[in-house]
Subunit: 309 residues, 4 copies
């Protein structure tokens, strides 16, 4: 798909309000509890976002696969506003402590732990049912810095798992967001099309994820290459982390892509200045989108663009 | 040169206030007379522009090579404000009428006429001396629609002419802006470097011009390819025409490039809404630049970045 | 159009036997007279070439627009073998001597002179009618070194001229080869499609010309970019000059393109070793094509691929 | 690093004689036993190859991590000829049968099994010591068809493992070949450079692997992008599988890369015709390399180019 420099389509704003890695230690304004998340979702909705990308946290503030927390979060958000709920199926990473045992029997050491495939597919049972789920289009070594510790883990996304996930989503009528982290991931998706998991002319929704350690770096060439690999008629956005976030999102928006922002992606509003709230980030993107002639899509327009029922 | 998504350099805003083709028939707010141009230059300067790109017009409102008009315009601008004056050496196109003769001796027909090489090099004699001159890095068929007529002309920019122009600029201590319209033009400039006209490590200032009929189309791939062909350490901006203008300029700004805007490039502020003044365009770009953390460069900063004396 | 690394299509070999610039001073085996050209055409045909790209020379060995020479050459070739005749419509460059006059009235100086548009369109009247004509898709400064002199000339190819040329070819039922020297030239051709000069689904035949001074340099990125700009279903080959010739041709062949070779493109067989005959170059390319599983196309296959009557 | 279309450097031919997946069921001429491998290594050496890329097989013909087999193979090869021995550190995949248990206790089912990290690092203890080891620059889902079964496995290559591997190689004075399967893998290597595992100016030797399911597809754009990401001064080759193999290798060779061929990469010499021996593939590549003016590197030249002691 070629970038469209003349697109005047309404732009979908997705707010990724929490994320699956950093915590309040990175920015105290990160919403952690279901109540905080519902509040932020509402504020983002009022600021122009129509999709809320969700990871939840346990009482220790770290990522959790606990369905009770997911249920409560989705329920509270839906009570507040009709924003589209989108569950990141990677769930997130958590640091486990005491993973090694010394000769004297003392536990020490720490490691990054990712959710299991079972925990992840279990998200399809969240009640009330979310509107959308994310799939991650390939396996790679996910490396990140958590609380000063360089961590590494296999982010396991085998094609069979994704096949099952897509089929599960289709069965319950949920929409799908496809996250691709490199060229090979795009090929994996084309293989799902060849397998008939996606229909040949089915319009898909992509996030081009750049700048994660272990994935493709955040460069303009990588962004453009990935856009050009998208199947015709796709909707898409770019996801980058930290300092790259604002620039790549603006470039994507100018190329006809949609917007994703939020504290999952960046905890700084600008250099040295912490984000005050997810809504603050949504407001900036809505402001800039309007400057270039792209109004934020309404909820109905978003549902239509994303082919949600 | 790789695009720099993290650039926090101050951004130079160049206002191309008039251009060498369209007239008040396209937008009545286009400054035509030296007085109007000086007024717009001042307003742009106050809005954050530090470079004013200049073409002048005769009493008929069409492009002219008349040095008296250039002299007056540059003088009036310099009297108003210290904005850097930059003369487009193509001068501009004019429609000549009555270029054919019927059997009965009646003149009819029309054609696009470009300034001659002699008229163009004569611009080096403008008094007071402008700060910068533009060179155009290659020959091509320049096609444009003027007042509903599809016109075509050879835009003649032989390498020897450019060599002389650069030498002329260096002799009088003027800065140079290099306009490149396609891949081959970049190679022409590298040949000038090989010839010693530019020094091997001399930092150059480029405009990547896209979307002119006869030049490379305005696509993201063309933009990126051209940026990657720039010699290391170059300063640059993108120049596109009409509807592409805002988007490509924003992308360039996000990639570490500078800004050019103005009524030469676009007569519409947004779809269906004519630009009110050059300053209105400068204000929008300054606003957006600040949103992404790039403050407009001051005059002194611009002079240093462009290596002007 | 994407390169096709798996193409098993038969490959068309075009022999560009003479060219429009260098002479026997570069390589004594360059065929200059109609008789020499007919001999080389036959040898190339026997070696596997099915298209002969033709420029002719006057008695002084330099390029000429003289239709008598063209007529004789085409006639002699057709008498020898049924190879497809393709006339390069640029005709070629010649050095004119004595173009300046000293104060004492003595003529001196030299310049490159290109054929006029009138001379070029006159080629449509060659008798017997050639099978194909070349159009050059854009205007640029053509620079070359002739007999130690750096020369420069405008290679003038306005869109209106090309429109007329294509219409002329279609009228007489001749095929067309489109030479593109840069990104902008591809856009010019798309404009001819928009104008209806070419039909929207008409399959076109392209030469991607790289490495001419004034055109795009011979790089893999330029080659790939140009291939990707070709309209779907095009046939194509690459034309490069001198030392780049063999490598880019092999890359093109591996990507599903066709082959052009001949003394027009390279006078050396390998470093320091002059080409013995056009057929020697055709033989090497046929040999390598077979190694990668692409047999040379027969005459009938070529006519079908190039949509010749 | 830019492709070099004018490279006249001697070309290194690596013969990947066996591979870690398919067996004699794919091609009976695949060398499986140490004796067969030594015979093929010698034949390849005599045909112009100077590097032998090695995977070994157990008595069942499947990949094995058994050091005794590695020791014997390396020893037998070294007895036959001085070809450089290069051990693929992935070892290879094997199908395990009977991996599930039915309710009645009967074993059934099958899965792809990759060697463990422990088995892989243990290769550093092969005696006699091989000249080079391969590292694989990133983790991904390796999918392949083995004996009609679509298989999938995590090919686990964490950055810490690679760091240890490189340090291990350096400690024993062995050379390193770096296999990159996508953009992100190149970034992983740059991270090893940043960590000081490779020196900032250390010249590295890369294989750009394309066309593996789970990795980047075999396209010209992917190949070019990867070449341009190589650090300046690298040596490199391309590795593709099956039908893409010959074309991408020829393109790489034209771009200044080196050659890898062998039954690991392709079991067909051309469509429908099984390879007779590894040497047959080496001979073809040597033949084509000579056609474009690149002589096969001698053993001494190879050792120097690959910076082996």
């Amino acid at each position: 798909m070629k970038p469209n420099l003349l697109s005047e389509e309404k732009v979908i704003i997705t707010a990724a309000i929490t994320g699956g890695a950093h915590g309040k230690w990175s920015n105290p304004n990160l919403p952690i509890t279901p109540e905080e998340q519902a509040k932020d979702a509402l504020e983002c909705y009022e600021a122009g976002a129509t999709v809320c990308h969700i990871h939840v946290r346990g009482e220790d503030g770290l990522s959790t696969a606990d369905l009770n927390v997911y249920n409560k979060t989705v329920r509270l958000i839906k009570e507040k506003c009709p924003i589209i709920t989108q569950i990141g199926n990677g769930i997130g990473a958590r640091i486990e402590y005491g993973i090694k045992v010394s000769k004297s029997g003392k536990r020490y050491g720490q490691a990054l732990k990712m959710a299991t495939l079972e925990e992840r597919i279990n998200l399809l049972n969240i009640d009330p049912q979310p509107d959308m789920f994310t799939i991650n289009a390939g396996t790679f070594e996910f490396r990140t810095n958590m609380r000063g510790m360089e961590t590494s883990s296999i982010f396991n996304n085998p094609i069979d798992f994704n096949k099952n996930y897509v089929n599960g989503c289709k069965k319950i009528g949920a929409g799908i967001e496809i996250e691709v982290y490199d060229t090979s991931h795009m090929a994996n998706i084309m293989e799902l099309v060849d397998m008939g998991v996606f229909q040949p002319n089915e319009k898909l929704h992509f996030s081009i994820v750049l700048g994660i350690k272990g994935g493709a770096p955040a460069t303009v060439r990588n962004l453009l290459n990935m856009v050009e690999l998208l199947p015709e008629g796709s909707t898409w956005q770019v996801v980058t982390i930290g300092k790259y976030c604002l620039r790549t999102t603006m470039i994507a928006m100018c190329m006809g892509g949609n917007i994703r922002t939020g504290l999952e992606d960046t905890v700084y509003y600008r250099k040295g200045e912490l984000v005050k709230s997810n809504a603050q980030l949504v407001e900036r993107m809505a402001r800039v989108a309007k400057e270039i002639g792209r109004e934020p899509a309404t909820l109905d327009e978003t549902r239509e663009k994303l082919r949600l029922k």
